[in-house]
Amino acid sequence: MLLSKTLRSSTFRLAILYVCLFGASVAGLFGYVYWSTTKYVKERYDNMIAADRRELLGTYAHGGRDALVRELSTHAATSPMDGDIYLLSDADYVPIAGNLKEWPAVARTSEGWIEFSPLDWRSNAKHRPLLRALVTALPDGTHLLAGEDIDDMSAFARTINRGLAFGVTLLCLLAAAAGISITRRTVARIEAVNATSRAIMASGLGKRIPTRGTKDEWDQLAQNLNSMLERIEGLVRGIKEVSDNIAHDLRTPLMRMRGRLEVALRARRNADADEALIAHTVAELDEVLKTFSSLLRISAVEARERTVGFAAVDLGKLAAEVADLFDAAAEERGVHLRCSAAATAPVLGDRDLLFEALSNLIDNALKHGQSDVEVSVEPDGVAGVRLTVRDHGPGIPAGEHKRVFQRFYRLEHSRSTPGNGLGLSLVQAVAQLHGAELALVEGMPGLAVELRFPALSVTDASPGAAPARAPSAAVEFDAQATRPG
């Protein structure tokens, strides 16, 4: 299974191509070395042979045939096997003098260079050695052959040939083995990704690609794909929650209205009662539509592309504006709403969404805290901004912390106050969009909701830039949780 995958994989094909190219270039290199070496050696032999012949022809020119015969005989007697070959034959190729016993057959027809392997030359050798000679026809009809035993050279060539064949074969084998092993590893890692994809298609988004902890590019790919899956899963969960919420929380009021209208339809017409009923139903429908819009809005914020349409927003100024809007509401409740802000507290964000989120927090604090509310904007860390909305109210039971961010979740004691349980869900979505950390902190008494925004770097100010810090999905719950609104 894995082997067939290995053979089919593109990495393996690439490895094979690489091996072929490498083998060809090594063979070419060896070929060139072979060619140039043998050429050099052959030229040296040819020069030696030509020099010998020149010498012999000189002897012939000075002393005639007898001097040549004498010279050859002397040489044959003193050093018969030094590699030099000489033979002088008559017009019918019958040897006269020299160290060859027989005039070679190949040399009978032509003059010039010949190569041949006589039977009787160096009879103790393992094979018939190769000789190279220059044949000259002398003016008196005799033939002179001067040559060299070049068997050394051919042996050298054979060695190079063997080395070449062996080397190239070994190289190709090693490269192929390396190719297969690399491909197997690659295929195995890809197979892990594929297996996870198939598992996700078959069962659901819960699966994750295993990492090996090597921090190599495969692990990075796996991690990136995993975080992508994480985000997709979150969005899908969001969509599912919305449809669940619609099923549970919007159907109820719609059913109620439907029942009311049905009853009214059956009853006798009464102008006053009908008018009251219609007005009541319109008001209630408005509430349903509002809730519906809020749900869609939260989902839209959650799914929105980060930083699209973002600009630098002075959070301090914004907080003052929101506090100003809620000033009358605080006055009506007989409590104080104070706002203290740093001189400049720039964050990168969407002003409308930040305004809305802060409105929800202040509204919650006023509504449920029933006490003075403090809004503060101050520097946080190196260049971050921390926004805190603090009240002095009764707080929230410890077990409710996580649930207050759920859509439609409302605490028992807050059911009598107006609200739809979506306020904090929106705050959370806006915080995530802005890469801000949303935390609930024990206020002693009361509680504080903290929003910590990342530093606004220079590049962030340019449109479409990424936020300085990746948004953290994790929300800290320190002690008391705030109430949903």
Binding site: K290, A300, D327, A328, A329, D352, L353
Partner: protein, 230 residues
């Protein structure tokens, strides 16, 4: 107020919605023409002499934004109210950039739609640069930043002053909560709470103090209206 019948072009492909809008506008004294698709809207928009055009964003054939854009390029400057089911901020910005003058998110209350159309219809008239606004015995000096009711100085916070100025500039017209938030606080969202009512309530206590005849009225289901007593 209307010396002549002002005409409104309603571009909406859903017949029932279009009918409701037409009925609501007609009740307030507008003559209403309907267009059910983009091409019809272009034709009528170019030829007719309308005070306001309302355009649904999602239309069969030609997109609502495209309609407004083409009208603008052909020199039609009639104020346009873009109506859309897409409420995200980006969509609103895109709508205004295409040449729309206001943006209303579906679903909307008819009264809200009417308030927006009224505001746009007024905008198409001449804007007078006054330095003093007057409604009955209420007087606002925009240069001295001073407000008097029946000759008595009112102490207003800066934002309350802005709010009252907006009311007085729209005297006799219904302004919705969303319009107040957009024009006085410069934010675009629909608050889940009655925060605007509370704020207007405080302003009303200052303006309509004692047993003076009230100027600021709540209009059920929509918003508020500042008008001189009859």
């Amino acid at each position: 107020m209307a010396e002549f019948m002002r005409k409104v072009l309603v571009v909406e492909d859903d017949r029932e919605t279009a009918g409701q809008m037409a009925a609501c506008l007609a009740e307030s004294g507008y003559a209403v023409d309907l267009a059910v698709d983009g091409n019809e809207a272009l034709e009528r928009g170019r030829s007719g002499d309308y005070a306001v055009i309302t355009v649904d964003r999602l239309l069969p054939g030609l997109d609502g934004l495209e309609v407004v854009q083409r009208l603008r390029t052909t020199g039609v400057t009639t104020p346009a109210l873009i109506i859309s089911a897409l409420g995200e901020v980006d969509d609103r910005v895109r709508g205004l950039r295409a040449g729309g003058d206001d943006y209303l998110v579906k679903p909307f209350a008819l009264a809200e739609m009417l308030a927006r159309v009224d505001a746009l219809a007024r905008r198409s008239g001449t804007v007078v640069k006054e330095t003093v606004l007057r409604v009955a015995d209420l007087e606002m000096d925009l240069l001295a930043r001073r407000v008097r009711r029946g000759g008595v100085d009112l102490e207003l916070l800066p934002r309350e002053f802005q709010l009252l100025e907006y009311f007085m500039r729209n005297e006799g017209r219904v302004v919705s909560r969303a319009m107040l938030l957009a024009n006085v606080w410069d934010v675009h969202f629909d608050p889940m709470t009655n925060i605007v009512d509370v704020y207007v309530g405080r302003l009303r206590r200052k303006v309509d103090a004692g047993d003076t005849p009230p100027l600021i009225h709540t209009v059920r289901g929509v918003g508020f209206c500042l008008r001189a007593p009859q």
